[in-house]
Symmetry: D2
Subunit: 335 residues, 4 copies
C-alpha cells in the first residue's frame, strides 16, 4: 500500500482523490489546498483523510510515500522538485512544468534519487486511444498519412496559459503515444482576440521525416464543443469523435488505391468505399488506470505509457509552437 498525499483540491483534485481511493494500491493520507473551504465536503465524506497540513508539512511528512500535484501550472515545478528532494515519488498533472528546462531539472532530480516522476496525461489510458494504438501497431490502418484534430469549445479560459497549453497538449500526448517517430519541426498560427488575454484560437502542425502529417486546431471561443480526430492510413481511415456517447471510433474501409495501369503504362488512382465499423469500447474510467499504472511503476513492475522524456518533449513542442505563433507561422526546428 502506497501512502499518498494530494496537493490541490480545485477542478481536478477531487477526481484524483476518488481514483486513488478506489485503487487498492493507494491509501490517501492527506489532501491540502490553500482554500480550506473547498476541503469541507471532503472532510465530511472522508473523516479519516487529514486536511489540516500545509503543503510543506505534507511534502516533508515521513509517513507519505508519494505526492500527487493538481495545483496551478506555475507551481508544478516548485512543488515537484521539493517533493523529489524529500524522497517522494511524484505524480504531477500535465503539463509537467511551464518550461522544458524545468522539466529537465525534474527528470534529473528524479533519476538522481531513483524516484518515479509520473505526469498525468490521461488520454493514452482511454479505451479509445488504446484501440487506435492497436489499429496502428497491427498495421490495420496501414502507413499513416495524417492525424488531424479539432478540439474546440467555449472556455475554460486559463488566464495563466494559452489555448495550446490547455487543449493542444491533449493531442500532443496522443501523438506521442501513437507514433514512434518524432516531429522535426512545428509551425503554429493563432490569435488573442480578447484584449490583454492569451491566445484563444490556434492551430499547430508537426512535420516528420516520414509521410506523417499532424495538424491540431484548438479554440476557446467556439459556440459548439467539438472533439474530432481524423486519422488516415493507406489501408483504412478512422474518425475518433470523443463527444459521441457510444460509437467514439469509426473505422472506414475507404481510401485511394494506387496501381499500375499496364495498358497505358501509367500509375492510376481510384477511390474505394466499403463498410464502416464502430468497435465496442468498454466504459471504464481511464484515471483509475492512470493511478494503477503509477503504482506499478513505483513497484517496478511496469513502465508508464508516456515516459517522463516524452512528457518533456510535449513541453518542447508547445514552446516551439508558441514561438512559431509569435512569428506568424515560421517553422521552428525540434531537433
Amino acid at each position: 500500500m502506497i501512502n499518498i498525499g494530494i496537493l490541490g483540491y480545485g477542478y481536478w483534485g477531487p477526481n484524483l482523490v476518488r481514483n486513488f481511493n478506489n485503487s487498492d494500491q493507494f491509501k490517501v493520507k492527506a489532501v491540502c489546498d490553500l482554500d480550506r473551504i473547498k476541503l469541507k465536503p471532503l472532510q465530511q465524506a472522508h473523516p479519516f483523510i487529514n486536511i489540516d497540513k500545509t503543503f510543506d508539512e505534507l511534502i516533508t511528512d515521513s509517513s507519505i510515500d508519494a505526492i500527487a500535484i493538481a495545483t496551478p501550472i506555475s507551481t508544478h515545478y516548485d512543488l515537484s522538485i521539493k517533493a523529489l528532494q524529500n524522497g517522494k515519488h511524484v505524480f504531477v498533472e500535465k503539463p509537467m512544468a511551464d518550461t522544458s528546462l524545468k522539466c529537465m531539472q525534474l527528470i534529473e532530480e528524479s533519476e538522481k534519487r531513483n524516484l518515479v516522476l509520473f505526469v498525468d496525461h490521461t488520454f493514452p489510458y482511454t479505451e479509445s486511444v488504446n484501440k487506435i494504438k492497436h489499429l496502428i501497431t497491427n498495421n490495420i490502418l496501414g502507413e499513416i498519412y495524417y492525424f488531424d484534430s479539432t478540439r474546440v469549445n467555449l472556455g475554460l479560459f486559463d488566464f495563466d496559459s494559452s489555448v495550446i497549453w490547455d487543449l493542444a497538449i491533449h493531442d500532443l500526448s496522443i501523438v506521442e503515444y501513437l507514433f514512434d517517430t518524432k516531429p522535426i519541426s512545428v509551425s503554429g498560427v493563432g490569435k488573442a482576440n480578447i484584449d490583454g488575454q492569451p491566445i484563444n484560437i490556434a492551430s499547430i502542425s508537426l512535420n516528420f521525416n516520414n509521410n506523417l502529417y499532424v495538424h491540431i486546431n484548438v479554440n476557446w471561443l467556439s459556440p459548439v464543443k467539438i472533439r474530432k480526430i481524423l486519422i488516415s492510413g493507406d489501408k483504412k481511415m478512422l474518425v475518433y469523435d470523443d463527444i459521441e456517447p457510444t460509437e467514439k471510433i469509426k473505422i472506414y474501409d475507404k481510401g485511394i488505391d494506387v496501381y499500375d495501369d499496364l495498358t497505358i503504362n501509367k500509375i492510376k488512382y481510384g477511390y474505394r468505399s466499403g463498410d464502416v465499423n464502430a468497435p465496442y469500447l468498454k466504459q471504464e474510467e481511464p484515471l483509475l488506470k492512470v493511478v494503477e499504472n503509477f503504482a506499478d511503476v513505483i513497484n517496478g513492475i511496469d513502465d508508464p505509457l508516456l515516459s517522463r522524456y516524452q512528457a518533456m518533449n510535449i513541453i518542447k513542442i508547445l514552446e516551439a509552437a508558441a514561438l512559431s505563433i509569435r512569428h506568424g507561422g515560421k517553422p521552428e526546428s525540434l531537433i
Copy 2:
C-alpha cells in the same frame, strides 16, 4: 436576350447549360467539348443547341455575345483572352486563371475593351452566405473574432492542382465577400501523402490588421465529408454546416462578456449562454442567381457580388499560401 456559347461540358458544364437555359435573359446558342460523346445526350434533349463548332469557331462566331468557360483550369486564360479579344463578355469558372499575372492581363484586356469579365464563385450567391453577410453587416454578431472552416472529403483529387486550389478557394471567396478588410499575410502548411501527387491536406491562415483571424482546413483524403464554418463575434457566434439539409446556419447567443469589476478594480470575464436560432433559408439554386447577376452586369444595371479584382486577389492569396506551404508555414506578405 444575350446569346451565350459554353466551352466545356464535363463536370460543371451541364449545370451551366441548365441554368443559362432556365434564365430568361440568356439563349444558349452553342456548347462545345473536345469529347464529342459527352454532348450526345445534350443534343437529344436540346436539338436546337449547336454542338458542332470548335472552340475557335464558337469564340469567333459573330452571333454570340458572351462565352462561358468550364474547361480545365490550365486553359482558362487562353480561352478567356481569346474571347475578350473577339469582343465577347466572359463568364469563367473559378479560379479565374492559374496565376495572378494572367488574372491581371485578363482584367486589363476586359477593361480596355469595356467587356464584362465575370468569375463564377458560387458561394456568395447561396442563401446561407447571404444570411451570414446580413448578420455581419447589421452588427448582429458584433466585431468578428474569427472565421474557421473545415472543408474535407474523400476526393476529388485534381491532379493539375492541389487541395487548396480546389477546396480552400471556396472559403477564400466567402471571406472576400463577407469582410471589408484585406489580409496582410498568409501562412500555410500541408502535405502530399501520395507519391508524385499534389498536396492533399493543408491548412492556411490569414492575418489581418484588425482583430479578425481566418483559418481554413482542407483535405482530399478524409473518410467523412465535413463542410463546417465557425464564425464568432463579440456579440454572437454561428456555425454554418453546409451538410445539414435544413438547419445550415445556427446562431448561438453565446460568448464571453468582458466587464469592469469595480469592487476589485479589475476587468473580469464571464461566459454567457442563451438561445440557439436556425433561421429559415429558402432553397433556391444559387447558380441561377449567378447567371442572372452576370446578365445584369452585362446590361450595366448591377455589380457582381465579387469584382474581378477580388477574384484576382483570391489567386494571389492561393499563390502566397502555396509558397508558404513550401517553406513550412513561413508567412508570406500580401501587401
Copy 3:
C-alpha cells in the same frame, strides 16, 4: 424491345419516363396527361415521344405493348382494367387500386389474359432493403422479434387518401418482402386533426402467429422528417435510417442473452454489447431495377419481388387498419 406508353405526368411520371428511357429493354412511345402544359418540357427534351394521344387512344394503340399508370389513385382501377382488356401489360403505381375487391378483379383479368400486372412498390428494390432481406434470410439477425418503423414528415397531405395509404404502405411493402409469414390481425389508431380532412397521424400494428411484431408510426404533421426502422432479432439488431446519406443501415451486435444458470437452477438474462457495422451500400437508382424487373417478368425470365397477390394483400391490410382506426384500435382479423 417493349413499347411502353405512360399515363400521368405529374409528380412521379417524369421518374418513370426517365427510367424507362434509361432501360435498354423499353422504348417510350407516348406519354399523356390531362394537363397538356406539363408535357411541354418533355416534348422539348424528347421530340420523338408522342404526347398528343388521349388516354383511350394510347390504351388502344396497337403499337404499344405495355402501359404504365402514374395517375391519381382513384383512376388506377379503370385505367388498368381497360389496358388489360386491350391486351397490354400493366405497370401501375402503388397502391394497385383503392379497394381490395378491385385488386382481385385486376388480378383475375390479368390471369385470364395471361398478361403481366406489376405494381410499383419501389422499396424492395433499394440496396438497403435488399441488404436487410439478406441479413434475415441468412439468419444473421436470428429469429426476428419486431419491425418498428417511424415515417413522419410535414406534408404531403393527400386529400383523397389518408396518411396510412400514403406512408404506411411503404412499410407494409417492406414487411411483405422481408417476412414469409402473414399477419393474422391488425390494430390501428389515429386522428384527423384538421377539420374535414383525412387522418394525418396514425400507427398500426400487425400480429402474427409467431414471435414477430410489427409497429408502424406515420404522421403528415411532423416538424421533422424521420425515416427510421428498428429491427431486432435474437442474434443482432439493426437500425435502417433512410435519411442518412451514407450509413443507412447499422447492424448492432447487441441483444439479450438467455441462459440456464445451473447454480441456481433458473433461467437468467444478460445484455450483450458489441461492435456496430454499417455495410457499404451501392448508390443505385432502385426505380431502374423496378422497370428492368418488369421487363424480365414480361419476358418470362424472372418473378417480381412482390407478386400481385402480395400487392393486393397490402391493400387488404390498409382496409382493415382503416376500419380498426374507426373503432379506436379494435383489432381486425386478416384471415
Copy 4:
C-alpha cells in the same frame, strides 16, 4: 427542518440521499436496505446517518417526520400505508402502487390523517418539460394536435413489471402535467418476445374529447436509445429530444395554414416553414426541485406539480392499457 428516513438504497436510493442531503429543508436521519452491504459506502461518506434500523423500526421512529420509499414496486403500498398509519408524510417513487385500488386506499389514508402523500414523478420538474408547459399555457404552440413519444433502449428489463410500467409511465406523467383534459379511452398493443417474460415492446394511444391525440412508443429491446417527443399545435411544432446534451427542445415555426380561398369559395391548405429556435435551458438537477417541492407541500406553502389523484390516474391508464394490449388493441374506456 424535516427529519426524513429513506427506505431502499438500490438504483434510485443514492440519488434520494444526495438530494435530500443537499436540501436545506431536510435532515436525512436514517437509510435502510435489506442488503446491508450496499449501505457500507454510505456509512463511510456519511457517518452520522443511521443505517442500522429495520424498515419497521424506521417507520415507527418518533424522531422521523417523513419517509421516502425507493424499494421494489410491489412493496410500495405496504410500506406507504404503514408509514401513513404511523403519522409520517410519504414520498414514494413512481408508480405510487401496483394497482389503482391500492392508490385509492393510500390517498384515503393520507387524507384521513391529513398527511402528505407525494409521488416522485421527476419529469414535470425538469427545465425541458417546464419550458413546454410554458409554451402550451401561453398558447405559443396554439391548439395542440398531438403528443407523440418514442422512448426506447436496451434494458432495463424489469421482471416484475412490463415496459409500459417502466417507460410509458414517464410520458403519462408529462401528459398529465401538460394538458388539462383527461383521456376518455386508451388503446394498447405490444408483445412479449422473450419466452415467459413481460411485454418488452408496446405502444399506447390516448383518445380525448377534443382535438388532442397521444401516442407513446416504448421498447426494452432497441439497439439505440431514443427519447424523442414530437408535439404539434396549429401555430408551432416542437421536438423534445432528451438525449441531446444542450439543444433538448427545438421549436419549429412550421405548420399547415388553413384559409378560405374566396376566389374559388373553398378552404385551402398551405405549408409554412420558418425559423427554428432552441431555447436556453438551465442545467439543474430536477430531483432537488422535487424534494424541495415535497418540503413546501408538507409546510403547506405549495402544491405538488402532480397531485396524488393525478398520480393515481396514471396507474388507471396503465391498467387499462395493459388490458387493451391483452385484447389486441381493443380500446378501454377511462371514464
